[in-house]
């Protein structure tokens, strides 16, 4: 219950920030993707199941609230959260740089996947080069934001973690 609440609060906050603060911040034609950052962070912290749920919920919320083609972000982030969560299980490194690298790589791949799906559905009309550029820039921006966001999320996740064994 507490986790659901936490997830809702975090997702709504991320959405609000994405549509207000970062709506104005358009660096070189691209913006940070907070929902990607959120999904990857939760996947690192909580594992593949939590990553997939966060990605799905956040993606759906973003799709419905931001008047995007619905479902594509949800699909992307579900898979992304799951994949990063799985990947995290095979990496044993206490390095603080690891989340940054995972966020950067995950954002890049996720953006490309999103672009590919949107393109296949005829919802996206940009060149591959542009897509690559946006993906790379978003990855960089998210990586920059990671040291600011990740510790907050970790504290929130640890605080909300119940004593009971997690089923997901």
């Amino acid at each position: 219950m507490r986790r659901t609440l936490l997830l809702s609060v975090v997702i709504v906050t991320a959405l609000l920030l994405q549509t207000t603060v970062f709506a104005d911040v358009r660096l070189l034609g691209a913006r940070p993707e907070l929902m990607f950052l959120l999904t990857i962070s939760f996947a690192i912290l909580e594992g593949p199941a939590s990553g997939a749920i966060t990605g799905f919920a956040g993606g759906m919320a973003q799709d419905f609230l931001l008047d995007q083609p619905k479902g594509i972000t949800a699909l992307t982030l579900t898979l992304l959260g799951y994949a990063v969560g799985l990947l995290r299980q095979y990496i044993v490194s206490p390095s603080p740089v690891l989340p940054v690298l995972l966020v950067a790589g995950g954002t890049f791949v996720g953006e490309l996947f999103y672009g590919l799906v949107a393109f296949l559905l005829g919802q996206l009309d940009v060149t591959a080069l542009y897509l690559f550029r946006v993906a790379a820039l978003s990855a960089v921006y998210n990586a920059i934001l990671t040291p600011l966001v990740y510790p907050v999320l970790r504290r929130a996740a640890e605080g909300s973690r119940s004593r009971k064994v997690m089923r997901w």
């Binding site: 549509t19 207000t20 993606g59 419905f64 799906v117």
Partner: protein, 284 residues
């Protein structure tokens, strides 16, 4: 065993979520903008937009700050463009001011022309350059014999007498200023009507000679050209009653045969720009 179960349930979860996503995509894709999903999106948007407004109000300055940082290069470029524009506009303003000055000068010339007399033919000329020599006080004007200018024609400016033409080429002429040491102008004291001869002294004030010692001369008295006109015998170079200058100094030297008077020219020769050449005196 538990771990495997967990992995399996996770996989199931992911498959479910992906399926839901795909269904959503399909439904949305087939229905377009009119379906229930679109209206659900609109409802969600309506719900969150007040929140957005509140947050936006708080964070807009922050966003502005960052976007300003990001846009610094373009702002700098804009700044340069604007500077260029300011420079251009300032130049235009200067040109306009210069034009206005020129207009005033031309108006002055027009008034001068009218004061000399409607019959007198004159032509306006632009000063091209001042004399190059330290010992000659001349100016060059942009009108010459092609415009009907001849030697000895008087040249005036709105402020007063300038000099007379000493050299003429096709499209330019040289004017000897009245402050040139070689120049001599017959002048008349305004108050007493006594005449004298004004000779140039270069940068210093002109000397007025041949004035009787008994003449009562006060400072700041105006000196105008004396137009001698003895028909058939001689005519003065300059038209009468053109201001030459004002008396600046009178030496109280009663022992001398003539008064020592200096006259400050009315025309500032260093800023001379437009002058009027008197082509004929209106009699011929």
């Amino acid at each position: 065993m538990a771990l495997q179960n967990r992995a399996r349930s996770t996989r199931l979860l992911v498959v479910t979520l992906v399926s839901i996503s795909l269904v959503t995509i399909t439904v949305d894709y087939r229905e377009g903008d009119s379906g229930p999903l679109a209206s659900a999106g609109n409802t969600a948007l309506a719900l969150i937009s007040p929140l957005q407004q509140v947050v936006s109000k708080v964070t807009h300055p922050i966003g502005n700050f960052f976007s300003t940082l990001v846009r610094l290069p373009s702002i700098r470029r804009e700044n340069e463009d604007l500077k260029d524009r300011v420079a251009t506009l300032e130049e235009q303003i200067n040109t306009a001011t210069a034009d206005l000055n020129r207009l005033h000068q031309l108006e002055g010339l027009l008034g001068l022309q009218e004061s000399i007399g409607p019959k007198v033919q004159t032509t306006a000329a632009q000063v091209i350059s001042s004399g190059v020599s330290n010992f000659e006080w001349t100016i060059e004007i942009d009108k010459g014999s092609d415009q009907g200018i001849g030697i000895d024609m008087p040249v005036v400016a709105p402020a007063g007498l300038v000099g007379h033409v000493v050299r003429v080429s096709a499209n330019a002429s040289v004017v000897q200023l009245i402050i040139d040491p070689d120049s001599a102008v017959a002048g008349r004291l305004d108050v007493t009507g006594k005449t004298g001869l004004l000779t140039g002294a270069g940068e210093q004030d002109m000397r007025m000679g041949l004035v009787d010692t008994t003449t009562d001369v006060g400072p700041d008295e105006r000196v105008v050209t004396a137009g001698y006109r003895i028909p058939g015998v001689a005519t003065s170079l300059y038209p009468p009653n053109v201001l030459i200058g004002t008396v600046s100094r009178v030496l109280p030297d009663s022992a001398a045969l003539e008064k020592f008077i200096t006259v400050r020219p009315a025309v500032d020769f260093s800023t001379l720009d437009l002058v009027l050449v008197v082509l004929s005196d209106g009699t011929g």
